[in-house]
């Protein structure tokens, strides 16, 4: 019985601790609170540090401090909290600090409601705060991936000195599924840039301010080069039934699960549907979309938002084929049947 039934939001915490996370600073928010609950139990319980901050603004700045000191540090939140952290995430990007942030998306705008949406895509994938920066964005679609992606996220964050977001939704956070936990505990290495409060690191400085236009320009271009490197090295996706597909679904998070079911339903009805599921939203699997655009007749992008990822798909296929948008908002989650029936019309048309 190696696989254990674990809730997505808890799998994040297990993956984090096994991945070497030592610090969690957060503020409760539905539907991400279970991450904080599990972190409070397991971070403090294992001699690591969980601290409930006074708000998300200060939580992200505690993360900035702990990351400055070389710690593997994370938080979990949802849309309104992520928005409050935007300034801090920009500072992390400017100072090139590694951090991991889990966004269990809820519905907006404003207070919206606590049900599932995927409307933080633009905010998280495009940056969110001020300045020319990107975040690495991983998009788990199962409890297993909630664990695995978080486990890996710290090393990715440190390799590129960037913030890694785990962009998920209330469904993937709430789901319980069998999870196989990693069997090896990882640890942060000593970084030559961090401030460890010792003689060796005394000369180190963590800052995002560069008053000289030349130096800030140079810094920005350096960041852009780094993001290109990330695009070349890190992009990941998964395909289902794309070999002979004539129609392609694309989705992330819970919608990818629904599309997976829809692909099977449509195949049973004789329609050659496939699914391309980006596992990284930045970098985005642009090239693979462009290749498949030569093969399929159209792409259906299924999202619980107003078509935020669809724009990236349109850009990827350079409008060479129709990109259809199936969108739900406000906490509405499509059923497999809804998606299948609609696709059946569009894919025969």
């Amino acid at each position: 019985m190696d696989r254990q039934l674990i809730k997505g939001n808890e799998a994040v915490v297990f993956g984090a601790l096994l991945g070497g996370a030592t610090h969690f600073f957060g503020y409760p928010i539905t539907p991400a609170s279970e991450i904080a609950h599990a972190a409070a139990q397991y971070f403090n319980g294992t001699g690591r540090c969980f601290l409930q901050a006074e708000d998300e603004v200060n939580a992200i700045n505690m993360i900035y401090g702990a990351a400055s000191a070389g710690a593997r540090v994370m938080t979990g939140s949802s849309g309104p909290g992520i928005a409050l952290m935007a300034e801090g995430v920009s500072y992390l990007a400017g100072a090139e600090l590694p951090a991991v942030i889990v966004d269990v998306q809820r519905a907006g705008p404003g207070l919206g409601n606590i049900w599932a949406e995927q409307s933080d895509y633009n905010m998280v994938v495009k940056g969110g705060g001020h300045g020319n920066y990107r975040n690495i964005v991983l998009a788990p679609f199962s409890a297993q991936e909630m664990c695995d992606f978080t486990y890996r996220a710290f090393e990715i964050a440190e390799k590129y000195r960037m913030t890694v977001f785990i962009l998920t939704d209330a469904y993937i956070g709430q789901i319980m599924e069998p999870v196989l936990l990693p069997r090896e505990v990882r640890h942060a290495p000593r970084h030559d840039w961090a401030v460890y409060a010792d003689r060796e690191s005394r000369g180190n400085l963590v800052t995002s301010i560069l008053m000289s236009t030349e130096l800030l320009s140079e810094h920005n271009w350096k960041l852009q080069e780094k993001y290109k490197k990330v695009e070349a090295e890190l992009v990941e996706w998964e395909e289902y039934e794309t070999g002979d597909a004539e129609y392609l679904f694309s989705a992330f998070g819970i919608c990818a699960r629904i599309c997976l079911s829809a692909v099977h339903e449509l195949r049973n009805k004789g329609i050659k549907a496939g699914l391309l599921r980006p596992k990284t939203l930045f970098p985005f699997p642009e090239k693979r979309f462009r290749e498949l655009a030569k093969q399929v007749k159209s792409v259906v992008v299924v999202e619980m938002n107003n078509g935020q990822m669809a724009r990236d798909v349109e850009h990827a296929v350079r409008c060479s084929i129709p990109v259809l948008r199936y969108n739900w908002m406000g906490g509405m989650v499509p059923s497999t049947q809804e998606v299948t029936e609609r696709a059946q019309k569009d894919m025969r048309g």
Binding site: M1, R3, Q4, L5, T22, H23, N44, T46, G47, C49, A53, E54, V57, N58, N61, M62, Y64, G65, A66, A67, S68, A69, G70, A71, Y91, A95, W115, A116, A170, Y171, Q174, M176, E177, P178, L181, R183, V185, V195, Y196, A197, D198, R199, S201, R202, N204, L205, T207, S208, I209, I254, R257, I258, C259, L260, S261, V263, G331, V333, S335, T336
Partner: protein, 472 residues
């Protein structure tokens, strides 16, 4: 003897400002120079230069890291205490300095400082109060005096419009955790000597691991006060000190609470904490004939959520795949709680049970809510202990059983959902009763409840065999 040697905690040359640079960015007569020197001297005297991490704020002292030859982190506006908290929690040996101006600390950063102080964070906070925003050119600060003219109070601050100046020492003194709170002034040499002692005490407290120490330093800003440096120091004594009285507010020998760091567990211990249960040695493992879409619905507290978890656990014990999803989103209605469980040999796509092939209705509202969503040919198990009516549909199989009464007979009405699960298992064969009995002890936290739950399984299985087998 060299009287005016630069303290070693300062860089000899301010290379981050420019090659060979020896001058600071501060204006003539500014108090930051004095305050920096007092801190640098104390760091040097205490021998803590290597361990010190200086948090530079946003404000005139944003480039404090040009000068201090310590570990340096520059923070967002108002967030120095939060950043210092992060460093302090990551490096137990670190000596943290959070250096902040009045806008940074008492304006935008009010929340951060209050909570860092309230947690008794291990840091020395040096609060430079010059009653004005310096770097942005002279706007109103939270500590600006009533009547004081600034760029944003051109006719003078009025209490009715902008409120009164804030006394931070007085406010922080209401909190329990800080160990040291003192207000000092840079008004004249005698006052600077007293300031020096307070600065050193705040840092000594860090060496001694005593905790949050706060020094408010009344400081001149001649440029923005539009005065000469000499006039500014006189104005400070005459106008700021009456409103912000100097002196010690608190000086505790022992911190009110000590944070007990727990030693991190070893990798092996961590793996053990997360280790899976050992093999259950299941008697029989029935092959799953078809994918199961199960909806278990009832009122909150009836145990429908945990029954769903139990089913999913049994399914994965039998090496099938399973998903469990609680009532969530628009499907939650009518005051019912419900869980959807899918069991399959294959990868499970959507975990949403829109159309169950087996509905367990524990109470009336649940039957009302979900009766219509069951697939034709599916099964509905009705808890007759709480539901009077019959199922209206004729295209589904219906099992009527007094689940709550059976559970009560076993000794625990809350085991009604376990009884329901047993009947589901007996009816469909999707999981074996042996597996349920072996998984129950692993999923029930209160060990005293294991036996009654097992008894509920036996009674429910017996009821099913005697009354329901073959029922249409």
């Amino acid at each position: 003897m060299v009287k005016h040697a630069k303290p070693r905690a300062f860089y000899d040359e301010f290379f981050r400002r420019g090659p060979g640079e020896k001058n600071t960015t501060y204006c003539p007569g500014c108090g930051h120079g004095n305050a920096h020197k007092l801190i640098a001297e104390a760091i040097t005297e205490l021998g803590i230069q290597d361990r010190t991490v200086f948090i530079s704020p946003v404000g005139c002292s944003v480039f404090a890291y040009y000068y201090f030859d310590t570990g340096n982190v520059q923070a967002a506006h108002g967030r120095a205490p939060a950043v210092a908290t992060g460093v302090a929690r990551a490096r137990e040996d670190a000596i943290l300095i959070s250096y902040q101006g009045d806008g940074d600390l008492a304006g935008i950063g009010m929340g951060a400082i209050m909570h860092a102080a309230n947690r008794g964070e291990h840091m020395a906070v040096f609060f430079i109060n010059n009653a004005i925003y310096g770097m942005t050119g002279g706007q109103m600060a939270p500590t600006t005096l009533v009547g004081q003219r600034t760029l944003t109070t051109p006719d003078g601050r009025t209490a009715g419009r902008e409120g009164f100046p804030i006394g931070m020492c007085e406010i922080l003194d209401k909190l329990t955790a800080p160990v040291f709170i003192e207000r000092v002034s840079l008004g004249d040499p005698g006052r600077i000597i007293r300031a020096r002692r307070a600065v050193k005490k705040a840092l000594t407290n860090q060496v001694d691991r005593k905790g949050f120490s706060f020094v408010e330093i009344l400081s001149p800003c001649p440029i923005n006060w539009k005065m000469t440096p000499v006039e500014a120091r006189k104005w400070l004594i005459a106008n700021l000190e009456p409103l912000f009285p100097l002196g010690s507010f608190r000086n505790l020998e022992e911190p009110p609470a000590a944070y007990g760091y727990r030693k991190p567990v070893s990798d092996q211990e961590l793996l053990e904490i997360f280790a899976a249960e050992k093999s259950l040695n299941l008697e029989s493992r029935r092959g799953l004939v078809e994918d199961q879409y199960v909806k278990i619905a009832g009122f909150g507290g009836q145990g429908v959520m945990s029954a769903g978890v139990l089913l999913a656990n049994c399914a994965i014990a039998e090496e099938n795949n399973a998903t469990w999803l609680p009532s969530y989103g628009p499907e939650m209605r009518g005051g019912t709680a419900n869980a959807g469980v899918i069991v399959s040999r294959d990868q499970i796509g959507s975990p949403v049970v829109d159309h169950a092939n087996f509905l367990i209705a524990m109470n009336g509202p649940s039957l009302d809510s979900f009766e219509d969503s069951v697939v034709p040919g599916g099964t509905i198990l009705v808890n007759t202990s709480l539901i009077d009516r019959k199922v209206r549909r004729s295209d589904v199989k219906v099992l009527y059983a007094p689940l709550t009464e059976i559970a009560a007979q076993a000794g625990l009405t809350a085991a009604a959902t376990v009884a329901a699960l047993t009947m589901y298992a007996a009816e469909t064969g999707a999981v074996s009763l042996d597996t349920i009995k072996k998984v129950i002890p692993l999923s029930i936290k209160k060990k005293s409840l294991i036996d009654v739950n097992i008894k509920a399984v036996d009674l429910a299985a017996e009821y099913h065999a005697n009354n329901l087998r073959g029922q249409i």
